[in-house]
């Protein structure tokens, strides 16, 4: 009983958070409304006894929102983050898209002939999850992750049209006539 009530409260929270993202007028609030929504979903997953996935969802989403705050400053031109602003863009098309996706997914719930459970859950779900994901595909994961990482960095470099890379090209390590590295870091890091 308590579990059911808790579950429904969490669903309501998740949906309300999702709606709030588009209703509030500040970027910080929208960001954290989204975080609340995801955390509620994560908590529901924990309630389904998929602890690892649930907690990881909470962890990743919270971290992602914080990193988003960094990007907010990095890539927003003027600082409109402080301005009260409308959180919706391209309204008509996005509404159509959202309704379509919702209808398709909802229909899927109703119409898919869901199979009955045949086995019983493993004792240690985290362990079996790890086996399922990593067991036979370890090599693939090991190869893919560096590639993915390199892709992210390359995308960032290319997406930033006025960055240091654009100005100096490949010669990021070239030296000036006075022997100093040029381009110079205005503020050196901890090791420099």
């Amino acid at each position: 009983m308590i579990t059911a009530i808790l579950f429904w409260v969490l669903t309501a929270l998740a949906v309300a958070g999702g709606i709030a993202v588009f209703v509030v007028n500040s970027m910080a609030r929208a960001t954290y409304a989204l975080a609340v929504s995801f955390v509620a979903v994560g908590a529901m997953i924990v309630m389904l006894h998929l602890d690892y996935i649930g907690v990881i969802t909470i962890l990743m989403m919270l971290m992602e929102m914080a990193v988003m705050a960094v990007f907010m400053v990095m890539f927003m031109g003027m600082n409109p983050a402080l301005m009260p602003m409308d959180m919706t863009h391209n309204k008509r098309r996005s509404v159509i898209l959202a309704v379509l996706v919702f209808v398709v997914l909802a229909a899927a719930i109703v119409f898919i002939p869901w199979p009955n459970r045949t086995g019983s859950p493993a004792d240690d779900l985290t362990k079996s999850l790890g086996d399922a994901i990593m067991g036979s595909k370890m090599l693939v994961m090991l190869t893919i992750s560096p590639v993915l990482f390199a892709t992210i960095i390359a995308a960032l470099v290319l997406a930033n049209p006025k960055g240091r890379y654009d100005r100096y090209g490949d010669a990021l390590d070239r030296r000036d006539v006075d022997g100093h590295p040029d381009p110079d870091d205005p503020i050196p890091g901890g090791l420099g």
Partner: protein, 311 residues
Amino acid sequence: MSDGAFVLVVLVPVVVAVLSAVTASANGVLDARTNGAQLRTGFAVPFQETARLLRQQRRTLPGADSLLWRISSAGIGIAAVLKVLVIPLGGFTFADLPVGVVWFNAMDVLLWALWWLLGWGANSSWSLIGGYRFLSQALAYEIPLMFALTAPAIGAGSLRLLTVQTAQTHVWFVVWMPVAFLVFAASVVAFASWGPFQTALGADITGGVLLELSGIDRLLVTGGRYAVLVAGAGFSVPLFFGGGAGPILPAGVWVVLKTCLVLAGLLTVRRLFPTVRPDRLAEIAWVIVVPLTLLQLAVVAVIVGVNGGAL
């Protein structure tokens, strides 16, 4: 969780608050000693400060996002309590999550959000700089911390804290995972914004995220900071110090005792080291500390592989 545990959960915030007050008092006494003031005055500092702040007006700044600001000032202590919930006291634990270690990590990331919101909500330049300083520091400590948390998990072959604790019956993990422990302790200092990693509220930005807080909000944040320290120190006990293991006394008492010892260490760190400027941190963390923790993981993995389990 049994029914009895539900009742006991109410006790957790109380215990955390008491331990935080003790920590704050101890810090006050140490401060009083350097200042040449009476030790008694130092001991009373947290209580007087509480009384003072409860009497003080709250304030808001023009354009401040009060909702987010108040949420974040209240949230820091709550995050600490949520961390403490999964710490086992001997064989007993309030919330026996199979992924307790990951839970700790998630709550630590919650602190990212809270410190940043604290800086953001005030709508003051200094506070905002403080909030972003915390984030940049967090980017530096988080990856090493995640690897450091992995070490005890590999050692015990489980993410459940009770299992991690029982895996240390023979040798405490701190003995063969010293690097992981040091990184963990440093991260506790960092996410509590304490001692050498207190840049989010440093004097060079006039108090940073703390600057604009007054009254009850300030009390919640400064108290929450101590609570986070307590939670971090408490968590190191099942991870590295064998949990409630110890002679004569009951396990719960041992956990609290060991927590207090780690806390004493954290207080000493504040006195020994000056604040590290945030722009110096990331490079060190990624170029030196991450490889070190990876090396530690390799050592642990090899030992576990050869030994067929924890030492």
